[in-house]
Amino acid sequence: MADATMTNPSAASTPPAGEMNYLTCARGWKSWFLTLDHKRIGIMYLIATMSSFGLAGLFALLVRTELLTPKDTIVDADMYNQFFTLHGAIMVFLFIIPSIPAALGNFVLPIMLGAKDVAFPKLNLFSFYLWMFGGIFAVVTLATGGLDTGWTFYTPYSIETQTAVIAMTTGAFILGFSSIFTGLNFIVTIHKLRPPGMTWFKMPLFLWAIYATAILQVIATPVLGITLLLLIAERALGVGIFAASMGGDPVMFQHFFWFYSHPAVYIMILPALGIVSELIACYSHKPIFGYRFIAWSSIAIALFSFIVWGHHMFTSGQSELVNMVFSALTFSVSIPSAIKVFNWLATMYKGAITLQTPMLYGLGFIFLFTIGGLTGLPLAMLSVDVHLHDTYFVVAHFHYVMMGSTVIAMVGGMHHWWPKMFGKMYNETAARIAFVLVFIGFNVTFFTQFIIGSQGMPRRYYDYEPQFQLGHQISTMGSYVMGLGFLLMLGYLLHSLVRGKKAPANPWGGSTLEWVASSPPSHHNFDEAPQVDDPYDFTGIDYKPDTDEYVFNRPRAAKA
C-alpha cells in the first residue's frame, strides 16, 4: 500500500469503511476534554465560538428590536446599554477574535502545512481552557453585574460607573492571554514544523494570513493586558493615571487601548482574507493570481495596523499634526487591501468557476469587503470624519468589515472545510438559500445605517428623532432576515452530522494538502508523509462524476 500512495495519494485518502479517523480513534469525554489533538481542540473552539456568536447575535436582535421605535420599545435605557455592551463585548472577545485562528486555524493549519500537530499541543489545550475560563467569567459578569461601558471601556466613565468593570476587564485580560498563546503556537509551528519541501512560498495563502495574524496577537495583545491592569488599578487603588480629576490623562487610555485594538481589528480581518484566497482559487479551479503579492500584503497589513491607531481619536483632542499623520497613514492600509481584491478578481478571470456555497460566500465577501473598505476612506479623512464620527455611518462601516467580511469569510471557510472536519456533506440547496437570506438581510440591515448615519443618527443612542424611524425599521427587518438565514444554517449543518452524505477526501477539487488527507483525517493527519507541491497547481485534479469527487491524477514529484 505504501508504494501505491506514493504515486496516487487519493488511494490513501479513501480509507476502507470503518478505518479509524480522529473522531473515532478514542471515545469518552476525557478523550475530548484532555485531548492534545489540534483537530479536536479546533472542533471544541468551533462549538464554543459559534455558541458565543449565537448568544451575541441574540443580543444584536434585541438591540435592533428596541430600536424599532423611539424611546421604550421592549426595555428601558439602562437595559439597552447593557444589551449593546453584551453584543459588542461577546462578539469581539469571544467570537470574532478567536473564531478563525483558533477554530478553523487550529484544525487546518497543521494539515495544510503537512505537520502532525502544532508545536506545543499542551499549550494549545491550555489556551483553550484559558479561553473557556475567561469567556465564562466575562459572560457571568455581564449577565449578573452588568456592564454599560461598551466594549472599549473608555475612561473616565469606566472609572466612575457602578457596573462590574473590574470583573469584565479581568475576563478580557485572561482571554487576551489565550489569544497570545494561540498566536505564539502558530508562529513556532510555521517556523519550525514545516516539512522538507514546504518552503515559505509554497505555503497556502491561508497560512500566510494566519502567520500575520499571529504576529499581531503576540505583539499587540500584551499592551491590552497592561491597559486593562492599569484600569483595574485605577478603580481599585485610584492611581489616577487615566483620571482627569487627579491630573491624569483619559486620552492616554484611548492611546493604549487602540494601540492594541486597532491591530485587533486586523486580527479579525486578516485570517478572513486568507480564507477568501483559498476559496477563490479553489472554486475558480485556477492558480491564484499574484501569490507573492497576496502573501506580502498580509504582512504589510499587519505592519501598517500598528501605526494607524490614532484614527480612532480624531475627535478626542489630539494635535492637528498627529491627526494629519494618522489620517495619511490610514489611507496607506487601503493599498495592500486593494492588492488582494484585484488579485482575487484576476484569479477568477477565465477560471472554471463553480458556484458551490463556499464560493458564494467568497464572492459575497469581495462585494461586502469592498464596500466596507471604501467607506473607511471618508472616515479616515479628517474633515469628513468630524461629521461622521460616532454616527451610524461608523457602525455600518465596521459591520461591513467585521460581519460582512470576517463573519461571511468564516462561515464560507466553515462550509469549505465542513466535509473535512466531520466527513459529511451538508444539503447544498439549503445552504444556498441560507446564503441568500444572510447576504440580503445583511445589506438591508447595514446599508440603511450608512444612510441614517450620514443624516446624523448618532450611534449607541437609545432614543432618536422621528425622521430616523423608517431607516431603523428597515434595518431591524433586515436583521430578522439575517437571523432566519443563520437559523437555517444551524439546522442543515446539524442535520448533515446525522443524515449527511459521506464526504469524499476532495469534494471541491482543492489542491492544498488538507485535500490529500482523508475526510475526516486520521489521528496523525496523514498516513504517509504527503508530497509538497505548488499549493495552487490544479493540473491533474480530475472530477469523477460517478462518486462526485475529485482525484489527484498527476505524476507526483519525487519525494523530497
Binding site: 503537512g114 505537520a115 502532525k116 500537530d117 502544532v118 508545536a119 506545543f120 499541543p121 499549550l123 497570545i180 505564539l184 503556537n185 508562529i187 513556532v188 517556523h191 519550525k192 514544523l193 516539512p195 522538507p196 503576540v218 505583539i219 495583545t221 500584551p222 499592551v223 493586558g225 497592561i226 491597559t227 491592569l229 492599569l230 488599578a233 485605577e234 487603588l237 485610584g238 492611581v239 489616577g240 493615571i241 480629576s245 487627579m246 491630573g247 490623562d249 492616554m252 493604549f256 508523509a529 519525494k559 523530497a560
Partner: protein, 296 residues
C-alpha cells in the same frame, strides 16, 4: 516530513517532532516570543512612566527620596547574583553535573526569596508611612490617633467660623457688611481631591522625632501629586514582584525535576528556557532600579 514510523523516538521527543533538535529549537523560539510579550506588557508601564515623568518632573524628583537606595541596591546585587547561579545551573545541566545543577537552582531560588524578603521590608515601610498610590496616599498616616483628632478639630473650627460669620457678619467702619463668600476657595487642580488634604504638615518637633525613628526627611517643598510616583512605583515593582514569584515557581519545579534526575545532556531544554525567563525578570529590575531609585 520524511518521517518513518519505525525509527525509535528518544523518550523526551514528543510524537509530532522529527528530531530532538527540532523540538529544542521550537521551545527556544516559543520562549523568546513569550519574553517579547512580557517586555510589551511592561512596555505599557514604562510608557506611562515616561509620560508622567515628563509631565510632572518635580514629583519624581521629590518623591524618589522616599525610596531606600541601599535596599534597592542590595536587591539589584541579589538578582544579578541569582542570574549568575541560574546560568551556572544551565551549564551544569548541559554537562550532566547533577550536583551543580541542584545547587545552582537552589541558590537561584534563595536569591529570589531574598529579593522578595527585602521587597517585603520596603513595602511594609511604605505602607506604614502611608506612601501609597492615588487616593490612598496619606503621608504621616502612621499616627492615626492624632491625625484623626487633628482632622476633626480642623473641621470643627471651620464649622464654628462659618457659624460665627453667619450670625454676626463683620462690618466695615461705615457699617456695611464685608462681602465674604462662604464657598471655600477652589483647591488648585488635583489637590482638592487628595485624601487627608491639608493635614499632613508636621511640626518641627514631630519631624525630628521622625528622623530619629529612621524615617526619610526629603529635601525641598512637597509638590502637587506625589501619589503619581507611588502609583507608578507600586504598579511597576508589584508587577515585577509577581513575575519574580512566578519565576520562583518555575525554578522550584525545575529543582524538583533535577532532584528526580529528569535532565541529561540530551534533554535540558526546560532548564534552559526557565533560565531565559529568569534572566528577563532580572533584566527588567535592572531598568526599574535606576528609573525609580536613582532619579536626580
Amino acid at each position: 516530513m520524511a518521517h518513518d514510523h519505525a525509527h525509535d523516538h528518544p523518550p523526551h521527543l514528543a510524537h509530532h517532532f522529527d528530531t530532538p533538535q527540532q523540538q529544542f529549537e521550537s521551545g527556544k523560539l516559543g520562549m523568546w516570543l513569550f519574553l517579547a510579550t512580557e517586555i510589551l506588557l511592561f512596555g505599557g508601564l514604562f510608557c506611562a512612566y515616561a509620560v508622567y515623568r515628563y509631565m510632572y518632573p518635580e514629583v519624581f524628583d521629590y518623591a524618589h527620596q522616599y525610596l531606600d537606595k541601599v535596599m534597592g541596591g542590595i536587591n539589584t546585587v541579589v538578582l544579578i547574583c541569582s542570574s549568575f547561579t541560574m546560568a551556572w545551573a544551565v551549564r551544569c545541566a548541559q554537562t550532566e553535573n547533577r550536583k551543580g545543577l541542584i545547587l545552582g537552582l537552589a541558590l537561584t531560588l534563595l536569591g529570589g526569596a531574598g529579593f522578595m524578603g527585602i521587597k517585603y521590608v520596603e513595602y511594609a515601610h511604605k505602607i506604614h508611612d502611608g506612601l501609597l498610590p492615588g487616593t490612598y496616599y496619606d503621608p504621616g498616616g502612621h499616627d492615626p490617633e492624632s491625625l484623626k483628632s487633628a482632622r476633626e478639630a480642623k473641621l470643627k473650627a471651620a464649622a464654628a467660623a462659618v457659624a460665627t460669620e453667619a450670625a454676626a457678619p463683620q462690618k466695615t467702619a461705615d457699617g456695611k457688611p464685608i462681602e465674604q463668600s462662604t464657598i471655600a476657595a477652589a483647591p488648585r487642580g488635583p489637590k482638592g481631591l487628595r485624601k487627608g488634604d491639608g493635614i499632613h504638615t508636621e511640626t518641627p518637633e514631630k519631624a525630628d522625632e521622625h528622623a530619629a525613628a529612621g524615617h526619610v526627611q526629603p529635601h525641598g517643598e512637597r509638590p502637587e501629586g506625589v501619589w503619581w510616583f507611588f502609583g507608578i512605583y507600586f504598579l511597576m515593582t508589584g508587577l515585577h514582584g509577581f513575575h519574580v514569584l512566578a519565576g520562583m515557581g518555575v525554578i522550584g519545579w525545575l529543582l524538583y525535576r533535577s532532584i528526580k534526575g529528569h535532565f541529561n545532556k540530551d534533554y535540558f531544554a526546560p532548564v534552559d528556557l526557565g533560565g531565559l525567563y529568569w534572566h528577563l525578570v532580572d533584566l527588567i529590575w535592572i531598568y526599574l532600579f535606576p528609573l525609580l531609585y536613582l532619579i536626580g
